[in-house]
């Protein structure tokens, strides 16, 4: 592999990994620029938007450029942090290009799915915590945690079948609302606390954070895009909850 190709591969992999795993676009551009300069490349330019990345640089008079379509995967902040650590080491001159490439490939080869079951437990724990915050009692915590576990298993199934889309959020919110409402007559739950706790893992905290970070650095395209994503996700969660509530109200009227 020529040096030029190897440098481009490192910059592409670094940018792509940050973006796919929930990092901000300003971080992608900063990382690419910083690593490029550390490698001694000239005229390093990068342009990132939430769905793509363009990189160009010059080396010994020859220019190299690359256009990349990036599709967001599931959030993995550990990967984003690991790429950031690599970029720091490269910048400090403690890691060369070949080693950086090897490390980036290693990070990308680790499947996020390796930690699926702890993730389901974590989502349940989170829902139970929020249920307590909203005034739930112990039975409410259990139902809230159980509902989220079912919801996460459903997401896992959707991922395995390659059926992930915006509808996943709607269906997740639908389940989070439907299950507690269906159990309410039997268990006498604090329905509001259980459902609100179960909806929390679906709400777009990270998208909001990214919108702020990007907008503050003057990247309005990415800022607005992330903010729209956050508002849309909140809308989809609300839509799923509304559908389940309406359905149960209608069924209650019929029965």
């Amino acid at each position: 592999m020529t040096d030029r190709k190897m440098y481009m591969d490192v910059l592409r992999l670094a940018g792509e990994t940050i973006m796919e795993n929930g990092g901000e676009t300003y971080r992608v551009e900063e990382t690419v620029d910083r690593m490029g300069r550390a490698f001694g490349l000239e005229e390093v330019q990068s342009f990132a938007v939430p769905s793509g990345l363009i990189i160009s640089f010059r080396l010994n008079g020859d220019s190299e450029s690359s256009v990349l379509r990036v599709r967001r995967g599931s959030t993995d902040l550990e990967r984003v942090d690991q790429v950031n650590q690599i970029s720091r080491l490269v910048e400090a001159g403690k890691m060369d290009c070949a080693r950086a490439l090897e490390q980036l490939r290693e990070i990308r080869s680790r499947k996020t799915g390796e930690r699926q079951y702890p993730t389901i437990l974590a989502a349940g724990l989170s829902a139970a915590g929020f249920c307590l915050m909203f005034g739930g009692a112990w039975m409410d915590w259990i139902v809230s945690a159980g509902t989220v576990a079912v919801q996460q298993l459903f997401f896992l199934w959707m991922r395995r079948k390659n059926l992930q889309s915006m509808m996943t959020v709607v269906l997740g919110a639908f389940l989070a609302t439907l299950i507690p409402q269906a159990l309410q007559p039997v268990l006498g739950l604090n329905q509001e606390a259980v459902i609100a706790g179960a909806l929390m893992p679906l709400l777009p905290g990270l998208a909001m954070t990214n919108a702020v970070q990007d907008a503050l650095r003057g990247d309005m395209i990415s800022g607005v895009s992330h903010f729209t994503q956050a508002i849309m996700t909140a809308g989809l969660v609300a839509g799923g909850a509304l559908t389940a509530t309406t359905l149960l109200n209608v069924m209650g009227g019929v029965l």
Partner: protein, 148 residues
């Protein structure tokens, strides 16, 4: 007792989220503590009679400032701490109440709850934004002072 209950609830909620977002393992506890402290501050401000939007703004601002400090001390990306510091403020309950009222055709109440949830989101964004701005301001000043 109420504060303790809120602190435990916020810690559990944020800790679960840290794992859910696949945050680095060494950040799980510190980030959850940042989220807890920010939420406890919000709850204290509410009990002092400060309005909910103002308390959310101050809580998110405080959370983002200590989040940045932790990220800097632990040499980690700020996203981890920033996103986890605001988890407890995200208005899940308001959003659900709004939808429930709308489903019962109580449009007025539903719209009011929905608007309150949107104000809460706006306050979170403002708090985070102000925190990020203040940190950049300090960084710029320190950098200019060092190069003087």
């Amino acid at each position: 007792m109420h504060i303790l209950k809120m602190a435990v609830a916020s810690f559990l909620g944020t800790f679960g989220f840290a794992i859910l977002l696949h945050a680095p393992r060494r950040a799980w506890i510190p980030a959850s503590l940042v989220g807890t402290v920010a939420f406890v501050l919000y709850d204290l401000l509410l009990s002092m009679g400060i309005t909910s939007p103002a308390a959310i703004f101050l809580g998110a601002l405080f959370g983002s400032l200590i989040g940045y400090l932790c990220a800097w001390r632990m040499q980690m990306i700020s996203t981890v701490f920033m996103s986890l510091s605001i988890v407890s403020f995200v208005p899940g309950l308001g959003l659900y109440r709004s939808m429930e009222l709308l489903a019962r055709s109580e449009t007025g109440g539903g719209a009011r709850q929905g608007a309150e949830a949107m104000v809460a989101i706006a306050m979170i964004v403002l708090g985070l934004g102000m925190g990020a701005f203040l940190v950049r301001l300090v960084k710029t000043q320190v950098s200019a002072w060092k190069h003087r």
